[in-house]
Symmetry: C3
Subunit: 372 residues, 3 copies
């Protein structure tokens, strides 16, 4: 079975460090890598369009000398005829050497990675994971700040639905001396599970605030995200708040001189273009770093002989469907319902695919099978 | 004029054998072919999306070291402005070295192949032909059974509208000792013309049945296709029948140990995923073989000096439009109405493009011109 | 700052001559150029589909040995999330070595070229400019007539909305001895600004007529374009006129033997396919020449060290929005309103982006800033 990268934590801290080293070597000496994937084929299959992510992967492959099979928007094609994600992965395995997929179904990347006979990279499975965005974020931090430890990290905007935000918190929680300042309207604060299962489990200091300007002087890093009107129950709250989360030169007034500003892009208007010329603005560099990290990841996966066996969590198999309507298990042909144990003490189980919480206790489920 | 492959019978039995030999050599020694089309450009122009077929061609070209111009879905572009298929072929001839087209108009591939100055391959012209699917089927049979002769071939599902089915019957009718068992609901039995113009002309033994399980023990090969509810005049017939055409481990119970199962994919649910792990399941291999056959075909056409002149059938030119509403002659600018003689004894003429039958007798047509 | 080609006049007459020389050398000796852009990446980002133009650029890049990042139709993707053209250009600069964009917003190419860190080519910005079509036209004229001077050029069809027509007139106005015969229904005559700012400024002889057949004997070159019913205020005028602008063998009767026929394609029915076989028909060659000119242009821009500074026109910056509803300044984030002086005597200013005329006099504008 080939390796699949579904979540940022599928890569160890050591692996992340190595990837950043290789990526920065690629920036310094591109010629050295210009033909190292010659004859290899990358398939990018996007079940919803995301031009920037797709082009970043494809550019990465071209800079390694490889070729690209591209599916910019699969929605209108064979998936519409109802083909399963597993079947797609099996067929692509015969056409390419490495497989990148984006799919709006949460957990679809787990299913695709499992069925794929070639290395697999998740380029976004709905609101669930998007690990290569986090690779871009991490390289930016390392290259621009020189370290992951001892940073005060401000994250501003929509923290509730911002997939990249949860992933970044998860990744940074593995380093010491990191402190988060979570800046958002109350409606859009981070979800409970991030608070309980990441911040509290790893005992990371954090504060939550609505005040961007007041937080500014403390920050080593400001991660901006977009706030969308549709997210608000009461649109008048959006109209009242929106301007206080638009970064402009005035709000930057009392920031540190060596603070860095990140943004996953695309931006709409949450950062004034006046800020672009400020040396602290790192978001365009971040897009470039993202390409290099994808380059390093593709190279790593194509060169890996056999993935090391990972310790599997305890799991249960049963007839209870996942409650998440966007979960791949709602649509994938004959997919078993499996849940993994994520917290032994409180007996918390989560869907193996999309990681939504199982609301029943195993003891209350008939016809249950324990695995591992 | 460059060669064009519109129909599986455009390739001789000798050519098919050679293609399978080259394709299987490509599987064994991919390095040998990795740069043999370097500098060459394949254009895939799809007027309706078919991601699997497109990627198979493009992967084939990359594995030969060539480049690809890709048009995943032309519908929204210049064809919408009304450009003719001929003009598209002429323009593509200036951009690429070999041209692959899919187009929902029946007979469009004949027109494109005729106008093209570079070799042309039909990747599906509506319900008419799809010769490279048949190449995939044939290689699978040869690799997995070792022969084309002396096979009992079961074909199951929608035999009325299944283009790949007609094409496979046509191709296998050229070998000796082949017997067909045609398994379908009565509504979806093979069309009369396949019965009369292929099976009876070549005197091929066949039986028609609704019973999949009962036929199972006799089969050397089972070709599954999907049955669609929309095809039934009375949907209740579909509901009554559908389960009997879903292949699962139980129905496989009394099949031969060395029977092979083919399917053109995508499957929806007509084969249980439990069957995937059975060694008789060959449908994913079939997709891979399809890529190698396309590779062999591209290489062959790019290397052919000058196509041998083929004996042309007798034809008539007249003012009677083809009765097939999906025929390319309904829309293509200034296209002549031409019919070819396919059966001298009964004076049967078919449209040169889509092969629909001409309902009038030549003697009854005014202003007719006989060609050849 | 990298060079950007927005308008045909961004290239000097000397540069055009050089491009044609290189392009014709590429036709003669393709092998010589087959790897000259190896390792380089072209990005084609089309915000509206135009398959022929896109494939021409991509084919050009492949024939130079480079790779292609392709976005066939961006409309459904991140631009829909509202990303600015500038941001797109900045991000693409990190993924590719040269950037080709088509965008329906007029002036968008100026904005993209300005933000791009890599060489930029406009592949059409709405009804404004499309310089590489004009490159195709010019090479066709040079290859088929051997000169640009002393030609009587007939342009027939929709001269009002035909972007390629205005661009061709502009380009040819730089040569001596050129005379235009502008053949169109009155409703679709050339716009006033072409008459006043090109033909009259450069003192080019021209006549306007509705009569194609009568003009035929005088012409060295006939440039055909399509007339669309939607363009007519009174559709009955279209119905009355349309046949007189369809070129067929009969109308060609009294044309010179060495006249050449051009058409930007796609054609619908404005040229009968019977004309295709006439040696004067050059429109398919024109598509091929277009590919070679794009090849020459890509090579030139990738090899240029630093663009020469060009004399900038005098400009004003103010708060008056451009009146053109299709101008990029209507939508691009925080884009300044800037107008350039195009006629000192009459104090005519035009929008820096889309070149629409500023209707106010600078003296009447408050808060105006003069630049340069």
């Amino acid at each position: 079975m080939a390796r699949s990268i579904n979540d940022i934590v599928d890569l160890s801290v050591k692996e992340l460090d190595d990837l950043i080293d290789v990526a920065s070597d690629m920036m310094k000496d591109p010629q050295k890598y210009a033909k190292c994937c010659e004859g290899k084929v990358l398939a990018t299959v996007f079940f919803e369009p995301s031009t920037r992510t797709r082009l970043s992967f494809e550019s990465a492959m071209y800079h390694l000398g490889g070729s690209v099979l591209s599916v910019p928007n699969e929605s209108s094609s064979s998936s519409a005829k109802g083909e399963s994600v597993s079947d797609t992965a099996r067929v692509i395995s015969g056409y390419a050497d490495i497989f990148v997929m984006r799919n709006p179904k949460e957990g679809s990347s787990y299913v695709a990675g499992k069925a794929s006979l070639i290395p697999f990279i998740n380029a976004g499975d709905g609101g669930h994971n998007h690990p290569t965005q986090t690779l871009a974020d991490l390289m930016t931090i390392k290259m621009e700040k020189g370290r992951f430890n001892d940073l005060t990290v401000g994250i501003c905007g929509d923290l509730r639905y911002g997939r990249t935000v949860h992933s970044l918190i998860n990744a940074l929680s593995r380093y010491s001396g990191v402190k988060f300042i979570l800046i958002s309207p109350q409606e859009l604060g981070i979800p409970d599970y991030v608070r309980r299962e990441i911040l509290e489990v790893y005992d990371i200091p954090y504060e939550e605030t609505e005040d961007l300007v007041g937080s500014m002087p403390k920050l080593d890093l400001l991660y901006m995200t977009r706030i969308q009107r549709e997210r608000f129950e009461f649109p008048e709250n959006y109209d009242r708040l929106k301007d206080s989360y638009i970064l402009d030169m005035e709000k930057l007034g009392n920031a540190k001189d060596d603070m860095i500003i990140l943004h996953p892009l695309p931006r709409v208007n949450e950062i004034s273009i006046k800020v672009d010329e400020d040396p602290r603005a790192c978001y365009f560099k971040q897009a470039l770093y993202g390409r290099y990290m994808r380059q390093a990841l593709i190279l790593k996966l194509l060169n890996e002989k056999e993935p090391e066996a990972k310790a599997r969590p305890k799991m249960i198999r049963c007839d209870i469907p996942c409650k998440n309507q966007r979960c791949i298990s709602q649509t994938e042909q004959e997919l078993e319902h499996v849940y993994k144990l994520v917290n032994e003490e409180h007996q918390i189980y989560r869907c193996l695919y999309c990681e939504s919480k199982l609301m029943m206790k195993p003891a209350d489920i008939a016809d249950i099978e324990y695995i591992g």
